[in-house]
């Protein structure tokens, strides 16, 4: 049904202009649509975070603007838009202005690969998972540049910490993903989801898949710079870390991108471990919009776990952070890959 709408629009455009122009128009349309999704998603997740945080801390969270305070973040965004864009005199102006767009662009690029449902996926290449991992590591460049170009000690320390953290945890995320790729035997995201029709990978891969999932969740939290791995921002030590010198909309870009990154990490987890847009036991396979529904439910469940982490665990020290990665996660991960390979080879997976 959704597919029909898309083909309808395609045919309508074909009637209006040449094939090449249609191609370009469609690219622009999809880009705009994803920008919209980006903004709405970011605002929604910020609201969710604040609301969830409220309940964790025996509060209520935002509940005045709109039903259940749903429009609170829109009001906040409007406030940020209307604010002056300040900057430091000695900042490296060019880099300082460009840095937020790195973060936004990479988040958008990664989002293009996310299969919201069987039909809605903007970009489905055969090296999908690989592309996702590589693109999401470019995002760190934006944070790094922000820290460097602000010409502020706190920002610089924040940026440097990001570098350390990303280099370390990228490895764990990558290897956890590779473990699942060993099981799937393909890098294409739509195929990975199709393969799970006979059972989600977290069940078919059992022990190594569960270990990989736990590692992925830990490293994913670190990847999206969230508590307890938010050394990059560390309010009590660094002011606001890398975005200390940013204000107004530029700050909002970082803020939204952080939440959208969390969404991306959660989506990857859902695609690799919980069967993407597939319904449990295929109960609603016939209903057209069900894929979107199940995908959203699963992603929000995973995001809730991230939020649960955030409101439970205290922040790491930088040496503890590195110890965790290099002494614990990485060796476990390596053993786990071998284990998974053995299981696949011996046919011990379901």
């Amino acid at each position: 049904m959704i597919l029909n709408i898309f083909t309808d629009i395609h045919n309508l455009l074909l009637g209006l202009m040449s094939a090449k122009a249609v191609h370009i128009t469609e690219l622009v349309l999809i880009g705009v649509a994803y920008l919209g999704i980006f903004a709405v998603l970011g605002l929604f997740l910020v609201w969710l975070e604040r609301r969830v945080a409220g309940f964790f801390q025996l509060r209520l969270g935002p509940n005045r603007v709109g039903p259940s305070g749903l429009f609170q973040t829109i009001a906040d965004a409007l406030k940020l838009v209307s604010k002056e864009l300040t900057g430091t005199v000695k900042a490296d102006k060019q880099l300082y202005k460009i840095a937020p767009y790195f973060v936004i662009t990479t988040a958008l690029m990664a989002m293009a690969l996310i299969p919201f449902s069987q039909e809605i996926q903007a970009f489905d290449i055969n090296i999908g998972v690989f592309f996702l991992i590589s693109v999401s590591s470019i995002g760190v460049l934006g944070i790094f540049l922000a820290g460097w170009s602000s010409n502020n000690k706190y920002s610089l320390i924040g940026g440097m910490r990001t570098g350390i953290q990303m280099i370390s945890y990228e490895l764990s995320v990558g290897m956890a993903v590779v473990t699942m790729v060993v099981l799937a035997g393909t890098l294409q995201i739509s195929e990975i989801v199709e393969l799970q029709k006979s059972g989600w990978f977290i069940f078919t891969g059992h022990i190594p898949a569960i270990i990989a999932f736990m590692i992925f969740m830990i490293a994913g939290t670190a990847e999206s710079n969230r508590v307890p791995f938010d050394l990059v921002e560390a309010e009590s030590e660094l002011g606001a870390g890398f975005h200390t010198e940013y204000s107004g909309m530029r700050f909002a870009y970082y803020f939204l991108a952080e939440f959208v990154n969390m969404f991306i990490i959660a989506s990857i987890a859902v695609v690799l471990f919980f069967g993407g847009w597939l319904s449990p036991f295929g109960i609603t396979d016939a209903i057209p919009f069900a894929g979107l529904f199940w995908f959203t439910v699963k992603v929000i469940a995973v995001i809730f776990i991230f939020m649960w982490f955030r409101w439970t665990f205290p922040r790491f020290r930088i040496d503890q952070l590195l110890t965790l990665e290099w002494k614990y996660l990485l060796p476990i991960n390596m053993v786990n890959i071998v284990l998974m390979a053995l299981m696949v080879w011996l046919g011990l997976t379901f």
């Binding site: 969830v52 409220g54 309940f55 964790f56 801390q57 025996l58 509060r59 209520l60 649960w308 982490f309 409101w311 439970t312 665990f313 614990y328 476990i332």
Partner: protein, 163 residues
């Protein structure tokens, strides 16, 4: 072998932590039972601040509309902000034949008060005390200037015995 026990103990303690916070979340999400948020100003009728809350300085009056203030002005002098003004007068006590000072107006400027409590500590008669009123909002700043002794009130006759 402490390496593996570290991993297991670490995971276990993290899960215990998550169980505790998770309980908080789900109990409050489903029932709102322990939520401590006061929904001011929707709850003006039910809003009760705790006993030690410093809402405003008030003067104690007993049921006969009598207070303990003898207009000594110590509270006025103790206040770092000049929030208290004492207006007093003297009147002849026919029994003793002495001029006795009595309070006309104990003026308290809530708008300048920082709730430091120095006046209350300074008062030798314990005439003034903390009130727990939270809702002071006014559109006119003049309304925040209050006279603490109630109209027509008198000073209590002091009992002779010392505490």
């Amino acid at each position: 072998m402490s390496y593996f026990s570290d991993i297991i103990n670490g995971t276990k303690s993290l899960l215990i932590g998550m169980r505790i916070t998770g309980k908080y979340f789900f109990v409050n999400f489903l029932t709102r039972k322990d939520v401590i948020t006061e929904q001011y100003p929707d709850n003006l009728e039910t809003l009760n601040m705790f006993d030690r809350y410093r809402g405003e300085v008030t003067m104690y009056h007993n049921e006969n509309n009598e207070h303990r203030c003898d207009a000594c002005t110590l509270c006025e002098k103790a206040c770092p902000n000049g929030s208290i003004e004492i207006i007093s007068d003297k009147e002849l006590n026919p029994e003793t034949g002495k001029n006795v000072r009595y309070i006309v107006k104990h003026i308290y400027h809530l708008e300048m008060c920082t709730m430091c409590g120095l006046c209350i500590e300074a008062c030798p008669q314990d005439a003034i005390q903390w009130g727990q009123n939270f809702h002071h909002v006014q559109y006119d700043r003049g309304k925040l200037t209050k006279v603490l002794n109630k109209p027509g009130s008198k000073i209590m006759i002091k009992t002779k015995e010392k505490k």
